[in-house]
């Protein structure tokens, strides 16, 4: 219980840090670029929405920094992020509401698949570490891990979308025909396949290497030798004795890797014009839509932090030692 409380405490601390970064960054920049933003908005949106933007970027406010900060915190907590410029006059929160499910669905699923396949391959490579197949797999993993996600996405898109025409070139579902029920689901899977494959393959290498190294450290332990001496089945030793212990650091490494993969997922969405958070983030950067950009950054951080919290709590159940 204390363990969960501590992890939850850290979650809120980090969330606060992300929110505060959002407040500080525009104020640190020389010549606040958000200035002409307010000018563009003047008279077009309600005073309340304009006020929220002014507070968020520290413009036309005569209050002390502390007061601005608390007003900004209040607005953020209530989900009052102002109005988007690129998608004017839609409120930022509504855009997030529409794009978040796509990212969570596509990205969540592909990360889990990538983790499972990569970890299994890592177990295999460590177990058969004398074989040539393992060496080749290992070196390929080092290579694949260095693929820029967006580049690999472009290559897949070119081969399977443009050349072979097996998959659509962008979007999350077909807009040409009216879809219902099953045909909608099929269309979503059809559109999501290539972006998912990009994330799965690009993230695979990292998981494989982590798991391989953990496994090899575990395989020299005495209890493995004992298990072998007892004549247990090879499969059982590999999975029940070695892998079970080796997977623990992989789960701890999840935190660091997740942030990296999220970055990759953002770029993947841009390449595939997939209407999730990454694509919207890109649109907001191009359109200098600072309210939308900041809100998206917060939402991406929030999702990553929540995923970490879940991983941490799960870890506490799997390995009781960390609860001390």
């Amino acid at each position: 219980m204390r363990y969960i409380l501590r992890k939850t405490g850290f979650f809120f601390l980090t969330l606060w840090a992300a929110v505060t970064l959002n407040f500080i960054i525009p104020r640190l920049m020389p010549g606040n670029p958000a200035e002409n933003l307010v000018a563009r908005f003047q008279g077009q949106i309600s005073d309340k929405a304009l006020r929220a933007i002014e507070i968020a970027f520290g413009l036309n406010v005569h209050e002390s920094m502390i007061n601005q900060y608390f007003e900004y915190l209040g607005n953020t907590l209530r989900g009052n992020f102002g109005t988007s410029l690129v998608y004017f006059p839609t409120p930022v929160i509504k855009i997030i509401d529409q794009s978040l499910p796509w990212t969570l669905g596509l990205f969540g699923l592909s990360t889990i698949i990538g983790f499972v396949i990569g970890t299994l391959l890592g177990i295999y490579v460590a177990w058969r570490r004398e074989s040539n197949v393992s060496s080749v797999t290992l070196v390929s993993a080092l290579f694949v891990r260095s693929f820029p996600y967006f580049w690999f996405g472009l290559i897949l898109l070119y081969i399977f979308g443009f050349m072979l025409g097996w998959f659509p070139l962008g979007g999350a579902y077909s807009t040409k025909t009216s879809l219902n029920g099953l045909s909608y689901v099929i269309s979503v899977i059809h559109h999501g396949f290539l972006p998912a494959l990009t994330i799965i393959i690009s993230s695979l290498g990292g998981w494989l290497l982590t798991m391989r190294n953990n496994m090899i450290s575990v395989l020299v332990e005495d209890y493995i030798t004992v298990a072998e001496a007892k004549g247990l089945k090879e499969r059982d030793i590999m999975l029940k004795y070695a892998a079970r212990n080796a997977i623990l650091p992989s789960i701890t490494g999840f935190a660091m890797s997740l942030g990296f993969i999220v970055g990759g997922a953002i770029l993947t969405e841009i390449v595939y014009s997939y209407p999730g958070m990454g694509y919207i983030l890109y649109q907001s950067v191009i359109g200098q839509d600072y309210p939308l950009m900041q809100a998206i950054f917060l939402m991406i951080s929030l999702s990553v932090l929540l995923a970490n919290l879940v991983a941490d709590i799960l870890y506490g159940f799997i390995d009781p030692r960390v609860r001390e």
Partner: protein, 280 residues
Amino acid sequence: MKNSYIAPFFGNKKGMSGLLIITLFVVVAVIAPYISPFNPNEMVDIPLQAPSFAHWLGTNHLGQDLLSRVIWGTRTSLMVGIVTGLLSTIFSMIIGLSAGYFGGVIDEILTTITNIFLVIPGLPLMIVIAAYLKFRGVTPIIIVIAITGWPSGARLLRSQMLSLRNREFVTAARILGEKSTHMIFSEIFPLMLSLVVANFFSAAIYAILGEAALEFLGLGDVNIVTWGTILYWAQNNQALLTGAWWWILAPGLCISVLGAGFALLNFSMDEISNPKLRGR
């Protein structure tokens, strides 16, 4: 003493291939003006030509020779990777080593900051900072990546420092009244060198990928020639949808191969310092 680090390295196939890859890119970067067949910024032929004998990697939408652009791009991309990697490593060292050495409240504070930056997703943070910058170019990119790239290294160095600072020779030096800076740099640091070098390789990979990503998004100076900006122009001119695969393939492969080069070096360092990891 020194040989015990160097000798196994030459026997390590992965390490040697990594070294070879990086040396190759460094050589290309240095002699770029002599081996580049054309001026990378000049229109030399018909736009959007597929690879041919005259243009090994084809031409882009402005009729510039892509091989020349990739060769010249090696300079900036490699420089950004190395400089940013060094900068991140220095940040990691300052934070990680002081946390581990001083302990107590300083450690608590620095570790908390490290853990916070470790979980806040790096690329979105880089994009947000870069989007606010008025000045676009190589220097802002280096700074932005270094700001987000230090935490994992700091964490590793801190735990290594924790285990070293209570060794007898350190205690002995402390009793003799040595200053902390002297202790950190003369007594403890040499023992951490391999970890610091490994940390630099990881930071360089992070930097090379980060640079490519930011430039691909148009957050760098799009008028200079780097691997990232070649990809930016390709994407903005719908290279793939016009079938110009050659425009995309080479710069991305260079990024991957260079990244793999650093990864191979890193992996071999792991194998040398931890013999358990040696597969065969």
